[in-house]
């Protein structure tokens, strides 16, 4: 079990664009607290699910790990190498070790570039191999993700493929340069329900074959439960609960996790659903609540919750939760 990624106190604040008058009249800057003091570590072969709703910061966290966005503060250590200072050419070359699979299979492919070329670019932009080697490898990759025979697909344009096929192209593109670490941003959200499991199976097979480690960003708890080994529940930029899947989904501790789990629709008409619906709505990340970010909506909140922010506390066997009232 070797460590592949350690993220410490990762924070990202995005400045809020101000209108002209606001800039004249107020000097105060406002920020979107997208990711706030997030820490976790991953071992080789883990599949970490970053689970949350909109505004939770899960997508931003994924992109921060790849340094596609510059963190405001915090450390990212990948395979022992500190990514904090890295930039420019060095970062570009490092990119071959870590890649991103996008959510929207249509929007993530340039409509004017043939699908085969789109995948080959992942090699040619990095200067990996000779052109003929690149083409050979691309063909192999296309077939590996199920687009067989490659000759049926290489010269096609994205709009000539189905949604599922386009997503496979996205996967091929991410993996063709042989990265060790892949962040998948809602990779199946925009794919038909009956095809999703196939894409997930493909990702698992590829993981075994190429020895990959994944971060899986999603709002779909059921899917996260299916594929991930570790789960981190995020709310308004913070991790509120993290641990092995069996613990987080099996015995959830944080009130938000409980609310999430009770909200999922169950495809079984006989299921009894006891919903815990938190009051109100997700507040704006520009002005997150003081203290525990969930406290205004939490059915279990006490005085302490509005004063201090809870830390992630060990609840046993690798299961951590940040809550003053977590039930045991």
């Amino acid at each position: 079990m070797e460590n592949i990624l350690t993220v410490t106190n990762l924070t990202k604040y995005f400045p809020v664009e101000k209108g002209f008058l606001d800039r004249l009249l107020t000097s105060q800057k406002r920020f979107v607290h997208a990711v706030d003091d997030v820490s976790f570590s991953m071992n080789r072969g883990d599949i970490l699910g970053l689970v949350g709703e909109s505004g939770s910061g899960k997508s931003t966290t994924g992109r921060l790990c790849l340094k596609m966005i510059e963190p405001t503060s915090g450390k990212i250590i990948f395979n022992g190498i500190d990514l904090s200072g890295m930039g420019g050419e060095e970062l570009k070359r490092f990119r071959r070790n870590m890649q991103l699979i996008f959510q929207d299979p249509t929007a993530s492919l340039c409509p004017r570039i043939k699908v085969g070329d789109a995948v080959r670019h992942a090699l040619s932009f990095q200067g990996i191999g000779t052109p003929s080697e690149q083409i050979e490898r691309t063909r192999e990759m296309l077939e590996r993700v199920g687009l067989k025979p490659w000759s049926n697909f290489y010269d096609r344009y994205p709009h000539q493929l189905s949604g599922g096929q386009r997503q496979r192209v996205g996967i091929a593109r991410a993996l063709v340069s042989n990265p060790k670490f892949v962040v998948a941003d809602e990779p199946i959200a925009m794919v038909d329900v009956s095809v999703r499991a196939q894409i997930l199976e493909l990702m698992i097979e590829l993981k075994k074959e190429f020895d990959l480690t994944y971060i899986f960003v999603t709002h779909d708890l059921a899917m996260a439960n299916y594929i991930c080994t570790t789960i981190a529940i995020m709310y308004l930029g913070k991790i509120v609960e993290i641990g092995p899947k069996e613990k987080v989904f099996g015995s959830p501790l944080h009130p938000y996790t409980l609310a999430l789990m009770s909200s999922i629709p169950i495809p079984d008409p006989r299921a009894k659903i006891d919903r815990i619906i938190p009051k109100g709505e997700i507040p704006s990340p520009i002005n997150p609540p003081k203290g525990c970010r969930f406290h205004p909506r939490c059915p279990f909140s006490k005085a302490a919750c509005s004063e201090r922010q809870p830390e992630l506390v060990d609840a046993g066997e690798g299961h951590f939760v940040s809550c003053f009232s977590s039930r045991e």
Binding site: K92, R95, S108
Partner: protein
Amino acid sequence: MGIAIVVVLGIMTIFSPWISPYNPIAINVGPILSPPSSQYPLGTNHLGQDMLSRVCSGGSIMFQVAILSTVVCLIVGVPIGLFASFTGGYTDKIASLVMDSIYAFPGLVLAIAIAAMLGPGVLNMALSIAVVYVPSYFRMIRSQVLTIKELPYIEAANMMGANKRTTLLRYILPNVLPSIVAVATINFADAILTAAGLTFVGLGLPVSTPDWGWDLTYGRRLLTSGAWWVITFPGIMVVLLALGFTLIGEGLSELTNPRLQK
């Protein structure tokens, strides 16, 4: 359909030296201001020049000017548009400022001002028209690039390690191309009208060159004396040519849209 019009007019222009019954410049070929007749099917103007010949050959200047000005616009406007909007920041702000200032002037007025400064000649005419139209290319490209820049596939290109030049040329430009084509053809048509306008007010070309604009100028004046044919036929030609290019433009923008190819 647009292609048909343009091709016909193009052929007419190119072959004009052969099909013009009379030398279009030669004056006093026929009686002054005679209405359309079998000998002079489109009549003659105040200088005794045969209208048919003038109509046939007048197009050549139009084509030249329009093509030249479009080429200049493309060479200047497209790269500036691409580079400025992609780079953003001050480059973008300055370029936009300049372009917007030019754009603020009414086209014909600006063209007249520049043509007056530069003096007559096909090249100068083309240049003055080009200056007027560059902003519209710039704006179109800028709005496209700003939209495309935010799309996931550009982020993907970045992830793969594409440098700025490659991203611009291989990922952004091909997607902007259809709108460039559309703008180009519309502007082509507009350029023709502006060119006609320039010669209409007496700028840009020496008097003797056969040109629809000149004919329109004199035709207007001659209208009051009842010689309707001098202005009508060149007028129709100008409209037809502009229409032809507009139609081509629309056809081309549909053609180059990959989604419509299946």
